[in-house]
């Protein structure tokens, strides 16, 4: 399972409406974040590091452990060559896709 929602649902006291809002907020944060990473894979390592760190925290708070691990990896590679960064970004994008499908299925089922 790409996301363990147990802790997340405890934090929001099982509020389904808020869950829906936060899933969409999560999509927005990641899509914007991935865009920012793509824009900063070359000459701005600090911007890359900060963005990867922010995504890592968001993924952790949702319960998307594998996605947060990829973000941590991206954060650690903030000074790596652009090609290396693009490889990590690809991993983030793939895992994000999996997480998003999972969350959309959750939304459809609720």
């Amino acid at each position: 399972m790409p996301v363990d929602l147990t802790n997340f649902r405890d934090m929001i006291s099982g509020d389904k409406e808020l869950e829906k809002v936060l899933f969409h907020e999560f999509f927005a944060a990641f899509e914007k974040g991935i865009e920012n990473l793509r824009a900063n894979d070359g000459d701005n390592p600090e911007a890359w590091r900060l963005q990867a760190h922010a995504l890592k925290g968001t993924a952790l708070n949702l319960g998307a452990q594998a996605l947060s691990d990829f973000c941590r990896k991206a954060q650690e590679k903030h000074t790596a060559a652009a090609e290396e960064k693009r490889r990590v970004l690809k991993e983030i994008e793939q895992e994000y896709k999996t997480v998003k499908e999972f969350l959309l299925a959750e939304l459809a089922g609720s």
Binding site: D10, I12, L22, E25, H53, G57, L60
Partner: protein, 317 residues
């Protein structure tokens, strides 16, 4: 239309101005704006925008004092201008002034009748800032539309730019070394706890609000700079502070808050497991260190720690 700005050595300039007015027996009115009593004071361009429409065609000078107070001085004794002027300034700045009674902020002086009183105010200000003041230049500009207020340092040599509203946090840093006692008193008296969440990810803010928002009043800020401003103006009971922030980071903000408020209750929040972060948080005398993911229990434990620490203090009083 003529507006002069006196941005440095303003108090001395005003004293000289009063003397000149008295010698000439000329009629001038002065509005004293006590912005040192509020957390923020307006930048030059902001004042011009607010004063300009009211003082159409009237010779006007604005004196910016070191402590944030202002004097708007105009030729003639048209008292009807006073209400318009205070209305314009108060309306223009009301977000920042909302909590303050306007009668405490505005005072009117007739320079001929009250020159001595005004001179004493200026002298008191000079005495208050003198030890900390470096030698300063001064600048003045005529006709607001010709001025370049966004670049005052380019106007004349040796000019020290005034603190600016958009850089409010640094204004507070240079002006304030502690939270005023009346703000702290307001905190002591408040019934509902107020919590500041400093976090640049909306998703995480919403989670925190869902845990605490029903019981406590929550403020959220996405940068350390705006959070510092918020801390100063609202003096929250406690702060959840993310470490990685754009610009000034959470550790630096914690240091600043502790300087302003020795009784601050700060809990650091981070997605990092770096031992240096934990050590620095400890050095900063923060009261907790929460590693993401949050959990309801972790946050409630912090609240419990806060309540326990607060209890003996309350009983002492």
């Amino acid at each position: 239309m003529l507006i002069s700005l006196i941005a440095e050595k303003a108090e001395k300039e005003l004293i000289a101005f009063i003397e000149e007015v008295n010698e000439q027996n000329a009629a001038w009115g002065a509005l004293y704006l006590r912005f040192s009593q509020v957390p923020l004071f307006p930048a030059e361009e902001e004042m011009i925008e607010l004063v300009n429409p009211v003082m159409k065609g009237i010779k006007t000078s604005i004196f910016f004092c070191e402590d944030g107070d202002l004097f708007v001085v105009w030729r003639g004794m048209r008292r009807n201008l006073l209400q318009q002027l205070t209305d314009s300034i108060y309306e223009g700045l009301k977000n920042d002034l909302a909590e303050f009674a306007r009668e405490d902020l505005f005072a009117y002086f007739d320079l001929l009748a009250h020159g001595e009183e005004l001179r004493l105010i200026c002298k008191k200000k000079i005495a208050a800032v003198a030890p900390a003041s470096a030698p300063l230049g001064s600048f003045s500009t005529t006709a607001a539309h010709e001025a370049e207020p966004s670049k005052p340092q380019e106007m004349a040599g040796g000019v020290k730019p005034l603190p600016r509203r958009e850089n409010a946090a640094s204004s507070i840093r240079t002006r304030q070394t502690a939270i005023p006692e009346e703000y702290l008193e307001r905190r002591r008296l408040r019934k509902q706890l107020e919590i500041l969440v400093v976090e640049d990810q909306f998703f995480s803010v919403r989670l925190m609000m869902s845990i605490l928002g029903n019981e406590y009043k929550i403020y959220a800020e996405g940068t350390a700079e705006t959070a510092l401003e918020r801390y100063f103006t609202h003096v929250p009971d406690m702060v959840f502070l993310d470490i990685e922030l754009p610009g000034m980071n959470g550790h630096e903000l914690a240091e600043r808050i502790n300087e302003l408020d020795p009784h601050a209750f700060i809990v650091m929040v981070t997605a990092s497991k770096d031992a240096h972060d934990a050590a620095r948080a400890k050095d900063n005398r923060t009261k907790g260190f929460v590693v993401k993911p949050y959990s309801r229990q972790k946050i409630l434990d912090c609240m419990e720690r806060f309540m326990n620490e607060r209890k003996p203090k309350t009983e002492e009083k």
